[in-house]
Symmetry: C2
Subunit: 449 residues, 2 copies
């Protein structure tokens, strides 16, 4: 419902830049939300960007840059005089500042840290990998004391003057900074101003340590409808807070990675068109080569049955059809099972249950496909024996593919390997070689080669 015409705004900005009218540019950008500002800004060319950036105030720049791609930010800020860069980083949220400093060369990062007002907010965050709780948390948070009253707490919030919305769940610590509870801003407002926090806080706080993986963090937010999650050290002292806006980004990132893995490629770290073809090739070639080598087992199987093939050339007509259908059935199963594992619909202990489930699905699908394949083989003018061979083979292959698709992801999880390793391409490759073996074995029996 909040619509803006990006291309017309970009033209207005470019026209203003030609007249050196930076004030108009700023006015146009100020009418937009940060995410939209970043989109418009990204569409400008590098010269235009660098003409505008030094004129924006640091807080405005920080908001804008926080919405942009990491690599683009690193390039832009790297081009600014270091004094200006320092003032922008000073205005960023500590977690975003730490992400940025991690993306630029060390000597630049150190120069910026040396000039910052509060480097101590950012420095500890640099120790943690981006995809861990430590990398997601901010060190800029307000910890409340258990002996405060509701009115003290509200006063503390007013004095802290938070400039963003990360204050709706507040964490309560004792005198030694141990995490002891959580209160919501709603509770602070609705309870008696004289009540002590410890009388109404929830002492059952869910917390994570810095090393917790971001996927687990996202799972906890989703499961317990959290708005903020405290991060503690091994003594359960409060050292940071993760807020929900960062978690939504994590969910998006994790989904992207899962989908790329399920397609049989390693995930890209950057936006697609910003990733060079060479880099994309590197992310894909490993799996492609490995699958090629595995797939060449099909050649071994075919050579093993060379005499059968030579005597009934028509056998080969059905090869792609049979192994293709098996691969498709396997991909259907594996993607369903992988996702069910990810959201907790099935656990490792459900292996047998899932196998039995997919056996029955495979049986029904197989019977359907097998009837169709029988008719198709006859209409292609195959002998009745060949038609029987094809239809028994497809039934067997579909059941086999479904069971393989059910068990492999669970097996991976059991071995602590990410189940997305059993991608669609992995499934079809595995089904290809084994499927051929099944097909020719059945052919030998039925046709009596």
């Amino acid at each position: 419902m909040l619509k803006y015409d990006a291309s017309s705004l970009i033209e207005q900005i470019q026209a203003a830049l030609e007249n050196n009218d930076i004030q108009s540019v700023i006015r146009i950008l100020e009418t937009l939300k940060s995410a939209d500002q970043a989109d418009i800004f990204s569409e400008l060319n590098d010269d235009e960007k660098m003409a505008i950036l030094p004129h924006l105030n640091p807080a405005f720049s920080a908001d804008l840059l926080e919405e942009m791609e990491d690599d683009e930010v690193a390039e832009l800020v790297g081009g600014l005089p270091s004094e200006h860069a320092i003032r922008i980083v000073d205005e960023m949220d500590p977690d975003d500042a730490a992400d940025f400093l991690g993306d630029i060369p060390d000597f630049q990062a150190n120069a910026i840290l040396a000039g910052m007002e509060n480097p101590e907010d950012v420095r500890p965050l640099l120790l943690h990998p981006d995809d861990s709780a430590g990398g997601l948390m901010t060190s800029e948070f307000l910890a409340l004391r258990r002996k405060m009253t509701a009115s003290d707490a509200l006063q503390a919030i007013r004095e802290w003057k938070p400039d963003n919305d990360d204050i709706y769940h507040l964490f309560v610590v004792d005198g030694q900074n141990y995490l002891v509870g959580v209160v919501s801003l709603r509770q602070l407002i609705t309870s008696d101003p004289k009540d002590l926090l410890e009388t109404f806080m929830d002492p059952q706080v869910i917390a994570v340590t810095t090393g917790t993986d971001q996927e687990e963090v996202a799972r906890l937010f989703a499961r317990y409808d959290l708005l903020a999650l405290p991060v503690v050290d091994h003594d359960r002292k409060l050292i940071g807070v993760i807020t929900i806006d960062d978690v939504i980004d994590v969910l998006e990132e994790e989904t992207t990675e899962d989908i790329q893995r399920l397609g049989g490629a390693q995930p890209l770290e950057q936006a697609y068109l910003n990733t060079s073809p060479l880099r994309i090739t590197k992310k894909r070639i490993g799996w492609l080569l490995l699958l090629f080598l595995t797939e060449s087992l099909t050649g071994t199987v075919l050579r093993h049955f060379e005499s059968e093939l030579a005597s009934v050339v028509a056998l080969s007509f059905f090869i792609p059809l049979l192994i293709g259908t098996g691969g498709n059935a396997g991909s259907q199963t594996t993607s369903t099972i992988i996702r069910a594992l990810a959201i907790g619909d099935i656990q490792i202990g459900d292996a047998i249950k899932s196998l039995w489930h997919e056996f029955r699905v495979g049986l029904m699908l197989g019977v359907g496909m097998s009837a169709l394949a029988f008719v198709r083989a006859l209409t292609w003018g195959s002998s009745p024996q060949l038609a029987v061979t094809v239809s028994v083979a497809i039934l067997t292959i579909v059941i086999w593919a479904n069971m393989l698709g059910a068990i492999l992801p669970i097996l991976a999880a059991k071995l602590k390997i990410d189940p997305t390793v059993v991608s669609g391409p992995v499934m079809s490759t595995l089904v290809d070689a084994t499927g051929l073996f099944i097909y020719f074995s059945i052919a030998k029996i039925v046709i009596g080669l």
Copy 2:
């Protein structure tokens, strides 16, 4: 960090039930968060569940049931005396109550609505599909007036006594209930108590209408870091509010659907193990049959080249290898492109750019695969001509597969079809038939058949 031992708790509950000690059961459940209560409760058998449910107070039951699977809730509440069911539904959030009433037979739903205290909160929500903004919104929200002061607004919140956290972004309306702004609870607390809302509210509110798709709703939350999103009618009158906890569930649901579609199956509506094999079969057989029919083009191609196949049987050894590799390369590409489209990294207008990107990726991958294939063919004892054929074919097929994988999802988006329709199985099927044609055409030229 909040650990509990599910199986021990379940045993304790079952032991208490055998002694008819319902109070102990309730005490055990009360120590847990709602999501964990629901998990434990789901593990009990139907008799045990029905022994406990009537003894829980309606508000407790409502919290518990809101965390459970829709179909399980429909079954459980259907088994309760209708008076008890009415009191539980009365305590549910209106959006959850509407979802539940939509899942049970109409006559039951009408009986419950007739008995409810505030059926008018729920009734309008029943009109909207579950996966639209209207289906996600709650009608239980506090609208503030623009002429209120900050202190009036805080007082209104206290009087409203919200029992959940959906009050951190509050929407401001004028005398005719038109949406005019948004204020955050943070602003209410930190601004001067005497300031009118209209002086500090943000008048640029992002809003949606009831028909907006839930995927678009989730995208807006992620893009603008929202905690709540107002739903308006076509006159921009405020009629509901969507909160972030519902959106996290939507993100999870949409990801599940996308992953199942990318595996070449229609999405399941329920948890995997709760979906019968027959129902799963129905969700998969359509695509499997369609792909089978398309795949049978491979047979047509093979029969077309029957004489070549008969004269050089060794040609057939490479069939699965070549089309398998092409399918894998295509799946890698299509999953990357589909995800890039979903998160806005590429748009429909980037078709040519993406095609050129994937041409270069395909060229590099193809050259690598082609060298490997050449060596592999020679080590299998193939003639040099056959080895050349295979290696030229694999180069051509990989480039072809990559370009097809790039363009088809964008074409689907252009035609307003969900790009996930170009699933891995669809890609490999398309590449199979076309890849064979490429292979045999090259064979005819190189080997001179």
